[in-house]
Amino acid sequence: MSAVNSNKDLTLQDSLVLVSNENDADKLVAANEDNTHMKMLNKVKTKSRAAKIKTPGQLRRIEFFKTIIPPAFGILLFLAVWTLISHLQPVLPGPVSTWHSAVELFAHPFHQNSLDDQGIGWNILSSLERVALGFGLAALVGIPLGFMIGRYEFISRMTAPVIGLLRPVSPLAWLPLGLLVLKAAGPAAIWVIFISSIWPMVINTAVGVSKVPQDYMNVAKVLNLSEWKIITKISFPYVLPYMMTGVRLSIGIAWLVIVAAEMLNGGAGIGFWLWDEYNASNYEHIIIAIFIVGIVGLLLEVGLTAIANRFNYE
């Protein structure tokens, strides 16, 4: 630091002075009359220390490369590995043929010839619809349940063993039960999403409620607020960020589960389509489906994070 600061006038002349060792630093400082104390500081520094002096323009360019180069490199590497594997295993489509297939596919995303032959857009939408339904029901049940668990010790202890038991169950283990009781593939898929995406909302909401700071509760006591005011003005706003974390995790799980559920269930949807294309030997489409699932999941995550940030008051 000191060498950089002490040589400001030199910086202007040559923005890329590289002070590579103690001797150089001393010479530069010696040229500057007012900096004897800096000189002393410099002598303490180790010889290996190097300082690069940069203009704002350079800094901006470096920042730009830092954000662009590593991801670009990652993507290129991914494509290279993919190409290599597709050469070793000719049955797997490579990036180029997948790209051409995708261009063709997305030319008519919303065409509809028959139930089995409809545009990719419809498939994505029907998957999203199932997720919305299953997740919506889970939120409707899970958030109030979380509030009660966080507020009342008794309910917390009462539900703990049941939640502990049910939470680790694999989502698809719930599918047969759904089929058995609901007797239809569509509702069964929604049931699977409901039961597997409810837990993060229950748990995060409960944690938030139990963490409302004593300071805020003291304010409530001194102001003598009613229970309703405490909920609307203190508990709920405080819990909101926790709840949003739960919602984000839940939607992530719901989206993970839907593909598997649809593959088993059939009908319409991105998971069904993926399996259908496998049966029809359209292997490019399998890879496209994987990308679609990934991109939609990413968009959901980004959108929900943006909403969650709106409720962050710290």
Binding site: Y216, N218, K221, K229, Y313, E314
Partner: protein
């Protein structure tokens, strides 16, 4: 702010005996024990204090002496394990807006703006009044602390000093019988603190409210108080001495700096804290 303000006269050389109710706040032989995993701990014992209406009392002592506990007892946030507390002749059973607290860490709700934070208190105490009147009260309280321009700002958008002002406005807006201040300026830098002390002094002169303030700042205690309650070190802390601050109002920080009486009082407090009841460095 309160009708007491008209009765209270200030500006004369001595605070002539006020015509206020004596023993307005009464602490009778109060003791406080806490039970923790390590066992029982006696925080306070034999606390006796009688506060006259309109008086400004400071409680000073080393950290851990239980001065905040005394304040929380008066607030009703804690219940004594022995003894009794009264306010205006009634036993203190629970917290309530008649004993408003200015919290050390301001405790503003971060999702409400300044106006809404104060309004929450006004609404509760003056709910029978019209909405217009309640809003007027809220604005008046914020004006009083010099924040009329920042009503729409959220707590995270204003400085620490301003947050504490909102905290004071919230407490004053309730027109409490007793204002309780828990190290109100402890987290602020020295200059901001001095400015707020001066303003608090003016506000207290205007409102004539009874106040109890916990502090660890000797100058703050001497500057603001009518009496300083000095506490011994815990465990089993109690009131060591009570010092009457007989300085004329209005008090001016700069003039007092050279006032022998002020300096005498200041050194009295310092002697109590650092000679007779020095605390070993932790």
């Amino acid at each position: 702010m309160s009708n007491i303000a008209h009765e209270k006269h200030h500006g004369d050389s001595h605070k002539v005996a006020k015509k206020f109710i004596e023993r307005y706040v009464e602490i009778e032989d109060v003791g406080m024990r806490f039970v923790s995993k390590k066992g029982e701990f006696e925080a306070l014992k034999n606390i006796n204090l009688s506060i006259t209406q309109g008086e400004f009392i400071s409680i000073i002592g080393h950290s851990g002496c239980g001065k905040s506990t005394v304040l929380n007892l008066i607030a009703g946030l804690l219940h004594p394990t022995s003894g009794n507390l009264f306010c205006a002749g009634r036993e203190i059973a629970a917290p309530g807006p008649e004993r408003a607290v200015v919290f050390q860490n301001h405790s503003l709700l971060p999702w409400l703006n300044c106006f809404e934070n104060v309004y929450l208190a006004v609404e509760r105490v003056f709910g029978s009044e019209s909405k217009v009147q309640q809003e007027a009260r809220t604005y008046a309280a914020l004006d009083l602390v010099g924040l009329g321009h920042a009503v729409e700002k959220r707590p995270n958008e204003i400085s620490g000093g301003m947050k504490q002002r909102v905290g004071i406005a919230r407490a004053l807006a309730m027109e409490p019988k007793v204002l309780l201040l828990d190290e109100p300026f402890g987290a602020l830098d020295a200059l901001t603190r001095a400015g707020l002390q001066d303003e608090l002094m003016k506000i207290m002169q205007k409102s004539g409210a009874t106040a109890v303030m916990v502090t660890h700042d000797v100058d703050e205690a001497v500057l603001l108080s009518d009496r300083i309650v000095m506490m011994t070190n815990g465990p089993s802390a109690t009131i060591g001495e009570i010092l009457t601050v007989d300085l004329p109002y209005p008090r001016k920080r700069l003039e007092l700096a050279e006032n022998p009486q002020y300096n005498h009082l200041r050194s009295e407090v310092l002697k109590f804290l650092y000679e007779r009841h020095a605390k070993k460095a932790a």
